[in-house]
Amino acid sequence: MKYALLVYSDQSSWERLSEEEAVSAREESMPRWIALFDEFGKADPNVQGRELSAARDAKVVRVVDGETIVTDGPFAETKEQLGGLFVTDLPDLDEAIRIAALVPAAAYGTLEIRPLTVR
């Protein structure tokens, strides 16, 4: 079963950190990322992951009466924003939940698991 693991977190809390604090927070989370990729290596070596640039740099595109309208900023003004995603093939939802809980951002944000539609 293929799943998208959507990583939501409050990006402004990162931006409030000084550069030093951000570096040490990253270093601190490194063993957890390594543990995650170890698990992915066993469960789905073909996992695809992408980290996104800040949501405030997002553009939103709509087409109204044939005209393309582009606005700055994310689509939804929610506190937590999508910061990245994994697309992975796992045996079942329980396994997806187990892996999602290993994503470091699960400890301060939310991991949303969505099955992919197969047509």
């Binding site: 293929k2 998208a4 959507l6 939501y8 695809q48 992408r50 980290e51 996104l52 640039s53 949501a55 740099d57 997002a58 553009k59 939103v60 595109v61 709509r62 087409v63 109204v64 044939g66 393309t68 582009v70 994310p74 689509f75 939804a76 929610t78 937590e80 999508l82 990245g84 995603l85 697309v87 939802l93 997806a96 939940i97 999602a100 809980a101 699960a106 400890a107 944000g109 939310t110 991991l111 949303e112 698991i113 969505r114 099955p115 992919l116 539609t117 047509r119």
Partner: protein, 122 residues
Amino acid sequence: MEFLALVYGDPDSWESLSDDERSEAYEGYVAVSRDAQAAGALVDANELESTAAATSVRVRNGDALVTDGPYAEVKESLGGYYLFSCDTIEDAIGWAAKIPAAWTGGAIEIRLVHVDEAEAAA
């Protein structure tokens, strides 16, 4: 550069379409994949099952809290994505404008994919 185009739409309005309208709209999504692929601009595209099938996972104080449903209850939800490879964001906007949700009341959010410069250089 890679750009992730997040497709937001109102699932209720999708449900309210007739079968013909729905297959026409679906054809439109497939056409974007096909055309972007032909132009060498498509990395990946996927449709997500509805937020009714979502599961949210949070870990607090070492405990995994699992709830049914999406992380946030919003009217217009993420229904899928296209991952485009383009030289400029203008090109990505051009592709986004062809996605049916952009002109059927939804919206496409474009996000630049972060590149780890140290990794990219290696």
